[in-house]
């Protein structure tokens, strides 16, 4: 019983992180139509940022987000404007932009990863912040994990309210649904895409800080998070926030269960088995609508 609860709680925290970073990727892919393979690198870069601020300058990670998240926003905005805009300009259709953006951001991945390897080395990194146990229903969970989950919920909630309750958020959804019509309502699609891409980057930056509070990470791990974010987005149904949330939590709990009950080495296998299973059962994801 305690073990089950333990797995559920740890899985929920991990799943919450997956759902959060999947939300950011949904913004980048669903609105800006960029498949960003360098996505996870920004997560790792943010984790290093938090590590540096905490161990080097004694700034706690939560406070550190005030620096790291805007930096992630600005760097992603620049990535879109400088590197990706030429691809957007020359793309004749969405398919062409997707292929070009995969190749382009694949290159960006190695640039960022290389810089991080040179700067920080390739070894595993971690720091200890609020790793004190909290007793919940007979089991324990580290305070830093609880804090990470709380912040993930806050960020997800704020994003949801922004997208559904504000003029600019609704405009972003309009671009996701029908970009050709969006420009006819006076929306500057390129500006909206840049904003969505940068916001996605800010979210993965926040995710990186939160994850660094309780997981060890290394400069080479970005691609793992990119893949998991992609899997969660596709499993939940592309562009579906609720789907991403449920798929993320499902993945987090499955991974944790297998790591605890069977073997930690099998988590990647579980990820892909779950992914494959969902796609065989529902090719457009848990909540995706069938293609017309």
């Amino acid at each position: 019983m305690t073990l089950t609860l333990d797995i559920l709680l740890s899985g929920l925290v991990l799943g919450g992180m997956y759902a959060l970073i999947a939300l950011g990727l949904t913004l980048q892919y669903g609105i800006a139509r960029i498949i960003n393979l360098s996505y996870g690198e920004f997560l790792i870069a943010a984790a290093f940022g938090a590590l540096f601020l905490y161990t080097g300058m004694a700034v706690n990670p939560i406070l550190g987000m005030i620096v790291v998240v805007p930096a992630a926003f600005v760097s992603n905005w620049l990535l879109y404007q400088v590197v990706l805009m030429p691809l957007v300009r020359r793309a004749k259709n969405q398919g062409m932009l997707e292929v070009d953006s995969i190749l382009g951001t694949f290159g960006v991945l190695f640039v960022i990863q290389g810089v991080m390897l040179v700067t920080f080395g390739g070894s595993l990194q971690s720091y200890s912040y609020l790793s004190v146990p909290v007793y919940i229903l007979g089991t324990t969970l580290a305070l830093n994990r609880i804090l990470a989950l709380v912040f993930a919920l806050i960020i997800g909630g704020v994003l949801y309210l922004f997208l559904t309750r504000t003029r600019y958020g609704t405009a972003l959804r309009a671009v996701a649904v029908n970009p050709a019509a969006a420009q006819l309502t006076g929306i500057d699609i390129r500006a909206a895409s840049a904003l969505a891409f940068a916001t996605g980057g800010a979210i993965v930056g926040a995710g990186g800080v939160l994850i660094s509070m309780f997981l060890t990470f290394s400069a080479a791990m970005g691609v793992v998070f990119t893949m998991k974010a992609l899997i969660v987005v596709i499993m939940g149904g592309i562009g579906n926030m609720l789907g991403a949330l449920i798929a993320g939590v499902l993945l987090g709990i499955s991974e944790t269960a297998v790591a605890r009950l069977v073997d930690p080495g099998l988590t990647i296998a579980v990820t892909y088995a779950l992914f494959l299973g969902v796609l065989l059962w529902r090719p457009t994801g848990l909540f995706g609508r069938p293609a017309r």
Partner: protein
């Protein structure tokens, strides 16, 4: 109010528009008649900035402040802000969003924000059926209701000129009659309406003037009355081809 002159556009090497000129005045409905592929849709899209027009065209609008703004070469979103709203072929609505969200997005351009609430009341007055469906997802509505959303959204941007591309396409005869009746009411508020239609009979009935377009060129124009009685127009667009004079 809307002045277009010498507008040309290409699809690849195919010249879809060849030096088209026309104008629309305040409170006027102008209809463009022509066969499929004649360039009607391209013309509206070029005016709205969706299709790239060749350099040398002049597209100018004078709004209520009667200042003339030159629009050629401007992107589509800036042209909406200048006062031209296009209801595209196939409606171009946001199917996943609600009626209210669609309509309020129409008021996204800064020019429309101050009068957003008043314009929403005006649109719901024109289309009372939308009032009770504000929370419905547009994708689940009938074709006629979707067309109401599309026109309503365009009106929400407080345009000076409304461009409509085949608004009656796919509508039942009753809906169609209702639609043309509403267009006539919209005109009374002082908007200029430029209308592309297959339904020549009903559109000429509410129009003030018309242009005939063929192979990307304007080949005829006149008042709606004159066009209705023109034998060539009757033969081509009003189904009088079998009648021997």
């Amino acid at each position: 109010m809307l002045e277009v002159s010498g507008i040309s556009a290409f699809y690849g090497k195919h010249r879809a528009l060849d030096g088209v000129s026309l104008n629309v005045e305040r409170g006027e409905i102008v209809v463009i008649l022509g066969a499929n592929g004649a360039g009607k849709t391209t013309l509206l899209n070029a005016v709205a900035g969706v299709v790239h027009a060749e350099p040398g065209a002049r597209i100018a609008i004078s709004g209520k402040d009667s200042a003339v703004r030159e629009l050629s070469g401007m992107p589509a979103h800036a042209i909406v802000e200048a006062g031209i709203a296009l209801v595209p072929e196939g409606r171009g609505i946001f199917g996943e969003l609600t009626v209210r969200e669609n309509l309020l997005l129409g008021a996204y351009p800064p020019r429309a924000r101050a009068n957003e609430a008043a314009n929403l009341d005006m649109v719901l007055g024109l289309f009372p059926r939308l009032q009770e469906r504000l929370k419905q997802t547009v994708r689940t509505m009938s074709g006629g209701e979707q067309q109401m959303v599309a026109i309503g959204r365009a009106l929400m941007s407080a345009p000076d000129v409304l461009l409509l591309d085949e608004p009656s396409l796919g509508l039942s005869p009753i809906m169609c009659g209702e639609l043309f009746h509403i267009l006539a009411r919209i005109r009374q508020s002082g908007l200029g309406i430029l209308l592309v239609e297959q339904n020549a009979r009903q559109s000429l009935a509410i129009a003030d003037r018309g242009y005939i377009i063929a192979n990307g060129r304007i080949v005829g124009s006149g008042t709606a009355e004159a066009l209705k009685t023109d034998p060539a127009v009757q033969r081509a667009y009003l189904g009088a081809g079998e009648v021997k004079a």
